[in-house]
Amino acid sequence: MALLTTKGRTFEVSVVISNKAGVREPEGETILHDLVAKSGFEQVGSIRAGKYLRVTVIAADAQSAKRLVERMCNELRIFNPAAHSCEVSIGREPGQ
């Protein structure tokens, strides 16, 4: 586990990676067709599965924490821009 030695506050940043609109997402389709729609939830129109990362970051403020995670996602290709969208958002501060 990486040591968080940077000074500042701790923030929880959420990263959601999912297939872009127009890219078929068979896992969500299976959940919808083979479970949800067959179990009385006909109102559910679509389901898209994705990957969720919860990242703990030490930063001066929430926006800096978000920018750091966005840079990390872009530089390390945490998502593949050819097929994925990547949404980064600030969660709660741990302990709150």
Partner: protein, 239 residues
């Protein structure tokens, strides 16, 4: 010709690839650990990224290996024109490393497909297809869960126009159709190259079809992909 076969943690086709290359007179394969740093220091005629499950496919197949030390050297060699082949997970690593376009998504059936397929050679201007004929049909096996090639429509049209599709799934007669598409891959794409043609990735395993005994169909088509390296080398010398 010395050919580097890069081994990552989780590679499991590296020794098969070494064995297949050893059957080809004129090719001397060398197994290279992804962290050993020797790739740039020796005179390799080609680099091969074998199949497997590098880093246990964590994050996404190929995504972590794409950032490994060997890959920065592979990128430098590829930029200088060295032939680079990625097979299965190796293809996924090349895509995730940005050496090849697109993405390899989960098969549309969500199933891991392990089967024999036919692929048609679409482009013979690469060092891994130079010994083949355009339209030639090869019998090669696949074994993967994430092989559905994807590119956005405009980029896909450009890929086709630029002749970067190298192999396409088809039937035994060479006809591509939804019925001969094992994974839902766009345009039945089984392999692509970069624009320069020296970097090629394909999902089927040529090393698993390099000897007649290995093939349920009784031929050794995979060997033709690997031995193309020597055809290209000979062409360069004569050119």
């Amino acid at each position: 010709m010395k050919v580097a076969v890069i081994r990552f943690p989780g590679s499991n086709c590296d020794l098969d690839m070494m064995a297949a290359l050893k059957t080809i007179k004129g090719i001397e394969p060398v197994l290279v650990w992804h962290e050993d740093g020797s790739l740039g220091g020796r005179d390799y005629g080609a680099v091969i990224l074998p199949g497997g499950f590098s880093f246990a496919d964590r994050l996404r197949a190929g995504a972590i290996a794409a950032n490994s030390p060997a890959m920065s050297q592979v990128k430098r060699l590829a930029g200088g024109g060295t032939p680079v082949l990625g097979v299965c997970n190796g293809f996924q690593i090349l895509v995730e490393g940005g050496l090849l376009p697109g993405a390899l998504l989960r098969n549309s059936t969500l199933k891991f497909v392990c089967d024999w397929t036919h692929v048609r050679v679409e482009n013979t201007r690469t060092p891994f297809t130079s010994g083949l004929k355009e339209g030639q049909v090869l019998a090669l096996p696949i074994a993967h869960g994430e092989g559905r090639f994807y590119l956005q429509p405009a980029q896909l049209s450009r890929l086709e126009k630029d002749g970067m599709v190298t192999f396409r799934y088809c039937d035994a007669a060479g006809k591509s159709s939804p019925g001969s598409n094992p994974t839902g891959t766009l345009h039945n794409i089984a392999g692509v190259s970069n624009k320069e043609g020296n970097v090629v990735g394909l999902m089927p395993h040529p090393e698993r079809a390099a000897e007649v005994l290995m093939s349920t169909l009784g031929h050794s088509d995979g060997s033709l992909v690997l031995s193309s390296l020597l055809v290209t080398q000979k062409g360069r010398r004569q050119g």
